[in-house]
């Protein structure tokens, strides 16, 4: 299925969904990039910057496609740099400040595993361009899971201090995870056309991978009734996003049309 096969309601819904994937990756990528020069050791500094590159690169693909579908002459840079927080559709978990290294790694593990599950299904999307991005991105996100899960094991099953701190990070982050699986009313249009897929089984698949690693890392999976009601897909964000965007967008905002 291509752009010309979509009616207006499907276009609007897909635009919103692509913003969700694009913005989540962009915001996560920016948070990772904040570690550049601050990593706990050189290898990890490089690794986090590399993860950031992947996230921003994937985001550019999603936002470019979103711009094409919207048809208002906005490209990926325009969407990334010239929208305000209220127009961002990223999941809340991605915008939280980077915290300590354990917090960043735990978030990467939780979100990368989520993206892996989503991309796995979107590889079968009936919409060609979305399918292509998913096929490409899933290869990269596997490395993110591998890298972050190895650190979750090391920190969880490490010293008393590292165990305590990463468990605390997990407890904090866990409250934002249910939001990842909340479907928006407009998603239904896309599900009917097999462009995206129902998330009913996704959470189970996600939990399976997460619990397997947490258990090995001697960490306790938090109770499921501690979720926060928060949904970035409705444009509702924490105060952290605005501050982050102020920094991220400062150059294109203060020098419109600047190029390298």
């Amino acid at each position: 299925m291509k752009l010309e096969d979509l009616d207006i309601s499907a276009k609007e819904a897909l635009f919103e969904y692509l913003l969700f994937l694009g913005d989540s990756n962009l915001v996560l990528g920016h948070r990772l990039s904040e570690w550049c020069g601050h990593g706990p050791m050189l290898e990890e500094d490089i690794a986090l910057a590399n993860l950031a590159l992947d996230c921003v690169g994937q985001s550019a693909n999603f936002l470019k496609l979103a711009g094409e579908i919207e048809g208002k002459d906005r490209n990926e840079d325009h969407l990334a740099y010239l929208r305000d927080a209220i127009d961002f559709r990223n999941a809340t978990i991605t915008e939280l400040p980077r915290g300590d290294f354990g917090f960043t790694i735990m978030r990467q593990f939780l979100v990368a595993t989520y993206l892996y599950i989503i991309f796995k299904e979107l590889r079968n999307s009936s919409f060609d361009d979305l399918k292509s991005i998913a096929q490409k991105s899933i290869k990269e996100v596997k490395y993110h899971i591998r890298h972050s899960s190895e650190w979750v094991l090391r920190l969880g099953d490490g010293t008393e201090e590292s165990h305590k701190r990463i468990q605390k990070s997990l407890n904090e982050l866990w409250r934002y995870t249910n939001e990842l699986f909340v479907q928006m009313p407009q998603d239904q249009v896309l599900i009917e056309k097999n462009i995206i897929f129902d998330m009913d089984s996704s959470k189970k698949q996600w939990l399976e991978i997460i619990e397997q690693v947490l258990k090995e890392a001697t960490l306790i999976t938090p109770e499921s009734n501690e979720y926060l009601y928060h949904n970035g897909r409705e444009g509702k964000h924490t105060e952290y996003l605005g501050h982050m965007l102020a920094e991220m967008q400062t150059l294109p905002r203060s020098h419109p049309g600047a190029v390298w």
Binding site: V56, A60, E140, R146
Partner: protein, 166 residues
């Protein structure tokens, strides 16, 4: 109709001279980045694919192709980038793998077909590109570029890079 004097083989040969900006001893053709060359009566279309979504060399690669074609007095061309099918390290040709090895980068393994295996731990042994030792260990999943990981050889006590398999 200026473009018709070139066959697609000619174009492939020109492109085979364009170096990979991040690993200049190999070419974009050897790396499997160039997917197709289509010659029509209108123009020449070069189809490329990025190795990684966030590959910062993408623009350099386009510029390299641009420059090479113009050097050969070709003006009427377009460069299009496609994501599908996604690039895989299996597309790197044998000659390029050999060159990688000679420069101290262990070439990639074949991509595993088992999905779960590729998700958690690829434990296949990476041979040291310097001394062929099997006693090597991975020190980091990410090296100086997205496409490489860092390793250390216990045989010759040297760090080296490994081109990741994706």
């Amino acid at each position: 109709m200026v473009t018709t004097k070139f066959t697609s083989e000619d174009i492939w040969q020109m492109l085979a001279e364009v170096k990979d900006p991040e690993i200049p001893l190999v070419t974009i053709v050897g790396m499997g980045i160039v997917r197709d060359v289509v010659i029509t009566s209108e123009n020449i279309e070069v189809i490329i694919t990025p190795t990684y979504s966030g590959c910062p060399a993408s623009k350099e690669i386009r510029d390299g192709i641009d420059q090479k074609l113009r050097e050969n007095s070709i003006e009427n061309f377009v460069i299009n980038s496609v994501l599908s099918p996604p690039w895989t390290s299996d597309w790197i040709d044998e000659e390029t793998k050999q060159k990688l090895k000679e420069s101290g980068i262990a070439p990639p393994h074949k991509v595993p077909t088992n999905e779960l295996l590729s998700l958690f731990g690829d434990d296949r042994i990476v041979h040291c590109p310097y001394c062929e030792s099997k006693k090597t260990k991975k020190t980091s999943e990410f090296g100086s570029t997205l496409c490489k990981s860092l390793h250390f050889c216990d045989g010759c006590h040297q760090p080296f890079e490994h081109f990741k398999c994706i």
